[in-house]
Symmetry: C2
Subunit: 150 residues, 2 copies
DNA sequence: ATAAATCCGAGTAAAATACTAAGAATTCGG
DNA sequence: CCGAATTCTTAGTATTTTACTCGGATTTAT
């Protein structure tokens, strides 16, 4: 798993939608101003979230983006996978680099390290799928309230 | 955490040292042949492992590399950090990008996503630090024995 | 001496990243 | 119906990272 700005900005963008799109859809302009991310860059991110079925869009004036389902049913893993692609699926080189007769893993070392990558991937997957966007929305509202001392 | 070939090859290289450097040190040539990694590329990897204090080297003919401490006391995390640098420490942009008067996180969303990156980093760290090189050595020997049906 | 090694520094081609730019297509409000 | 606000689509580009290679200097066992 690589955490580039794609993933970081994208999650913030989606969180923004979750927070502010209850009545009207939020536009790129809105997100851009609130999050300090350029509209042009967001234009690259949103289609990915849409293709993944996380948001829907309305075009034209007063258009913008909405979540397709409740924030509680969207995991951070869903978002990151939509933006960054599959989590670091490290494949076993022993199998691919020798397309001659030899079957299986002749190199025991390779197989053993493969086990390491799998462990890492599993722990990442478990973590990101365990955090729901809904939780982040709640936390964000708490923080916001605290900051304004309501 | 980024899993590039640096980390993947490097872990295999160190595992090779752990497996074969009991009597004599292992040379780059040895590792290269057994692991199918070019000597030239290994030349770039080994110094990192050495700087991190994981291996020691003897120069000249019959020279090579050895572990500095038992494999059971080296974690995969030690190795990957030595090779890839720090694990994805995602910093809070809210704090850095505004060096004017404003204190703390004015952007609650940013703070909330920051919590996500911390969770991810922690789970990765816990995983890689939990796997010891010694364990991999044992597993590798088992696999090797099974393959040769001893 | 000679050969086998580690060291050291530089260089480089390809890919990924982090953007920006421009214009077409759509839709609402007046 | 017009115009402004939007999303959509495609392309381009500068920077950084990755994954290497290469040449030669230095050290050391035999």
């Amino acid at each position: 798993m690589k955490l580039s700005t794609k993933g970081r900005y994208g999650l913030r963008a989606l969180l923004d939608v979750a927070l502010y799109a209850e009545e009207e859809p939020v536009s790129l302009r809105n997100i851009s101003e609130r999050q300090g991310i350029s509209e042009a860059y967001l234009e690259q991110l949103m289609p990915k979230l849409k293709k993944a079925g996380l948001i829907e869009s309305t075009r034209g004036a007063a258009g913008g983006y909405r979540l397709t389902r409740p924030a509680s049913e969207i995991s951070v893993g869903d978002v990151l996978r939509a933006l960054e692609g599959e989590l670091d699926a490290v494949d076993c080189p022993g199998l691919k680099e020798k397309p001659d007769g030899e079957e299986g893993c002749t190199n025991a070392d390779t197989c053993v390290t493969k086990y390491v990558w799998q462990q890492i991937n599993e722990s990442i997957t478990k973590t990101v799928d365990g955090i729901k966007l809904g939780t982040l929305v709640e936390q964000s509202r708490h923080l916001h309230d605290a900051y304004h001392e309501i």
